[in-house]
Symmetry: C2
Subunit: 220 residues, 2 copies
């Protein structure tokens, strides 16, 4: 069994942050590849996914070990179960980054339909939400988590804007449909990354306040 209890908890925090950094980078490079038209960056995203998958397994193991051997108190137990849920959401953010590479890759060999403005903006907000969500987790900062949840609306609005704009392209010229569809899918993958960041924030608030903020009106 590993060292002191406090070291195990610190190890858990550190591993969660490492995985969070990786899925943030995956998101960043997947969109950068699309914007800068650099297919090489898609390979980076796929290489990082292998590391993320290993961390996903590691974090669950660390959590189960702590629960089984340390019989944590109510507060620590909420921290550890939050880590397990956050682990799942981070892994799915990685999956969405992979989905972005798959939707975006065919676009690199054809002319751009339009300059990309809203999609990089969505990526910036989603990455910022993830970063704040994980800071809120390690610092037990429920106020930061609550503020971060609100940003999900911006991402949803940008997604709707992307959809409406690309619909006009498709209606005007059916030849644009495959390219427009690919961009619509990229925007939906980014929306889901923001959703996962929102889930993490909700878990942090539950962890700190012992109160379930899920399913409360507009945030639900």
């Amino acid at each position: 069994m590993k060292r002191h209890y406090s070291e195990q908890l610190a190890d858990l925090k550190e591993t969660v942050l490492r995985m969070g950094g990786l899925v943030e980078q995956m998101t960043h490079r997947a969109v950068q590849a699309l914007v800068e038209r650099k297919a090489k960056l898609f390979d980076d995203v796929r290489a990082m996914e292998t590391q993320v998958n290993q961390l996903h397994i590691d974090i669950d193991e660390i959590c189960l070990e702590i629960i089984a051997l340390r019989q944590p108190t109510a507060k620590d137990l909420r921290f550890i179960t939050a880590a397990m849920k956050i682990n799942t959401d981070m892994e799915r953010i990685g999956d969405q980054a992979i989905n972005i590479t798959e939707s975006a890759e065919p676009l690199l060999s054809v002319p751009l339909l339009k300059p990309l403005i809203d999609i990089p903006r969505m990526a910036e907000i989603a990455k910022g939400m993830l970063k704040n969500a994980l800071d809120a987790f390690v610092n037990g900062d429920d106020a930061l988590a609550a503020v971060t949840i609100k940003r999900d609306d911006e991402v949803d609005q940008l997604k709707d804007q992307v959809f409406r704009e690309l619909l006009t392209y498709m209606m005007a010229d059916p030849g644009t449909i495959p390219r427009a569809m690919a961009l619509i899918l990229v925007s939906r993958h980014l929306e889901r990354i923001a959703d996962h960041a929102t889930n993490i924030c909700e878990d942090v608030i539950f962890m700190v306040q012992g109160k379930d903020v899920r399913h409360q009106g507009p945030l639900a």
Copy 2:
């Protein structure tokens, strides 16, 4: 504190199955509303979501109470943490059923683009996967879970088929784009329901075998 330990575990199983039955019904009625063009059924889906949201909170509470007060053994601990993960996936299946109502509702006031065949088929498979996944959970049946995971490929193939077919409609007549897009989105929501059922099966295999089957080649 509630009764005997075995009763608490039985209560947990029963509550998971109740929630599973509800999200299966939500999926069923959302697609039935689209196929039979009955907007009334969308209201049923929304009414069930309120119950699902309450069960989502209840299950987490039951699990935390058992872990905190009973200090479960390794095997029971894996059962309880599996229940917490399955809880999250079931809640998101409910969200996807709501997404189906939102994508499908505008289609009820316009003529059908084409007879719906693949989408009801996807719904059947996804519901069957969910049912098997939960049976596998309550019976600790890792073989059933493993067989069920394989069906996810059928759902993915149907989703690709729906996409390709509707693309030809859109290319031939841009006037069909909004209706085709709505059906493509419905098929993607169903694909995600099957993904959540797959996640549940993976959790069951880990619970039974204590082995992590996630991230192993083609299933990952």
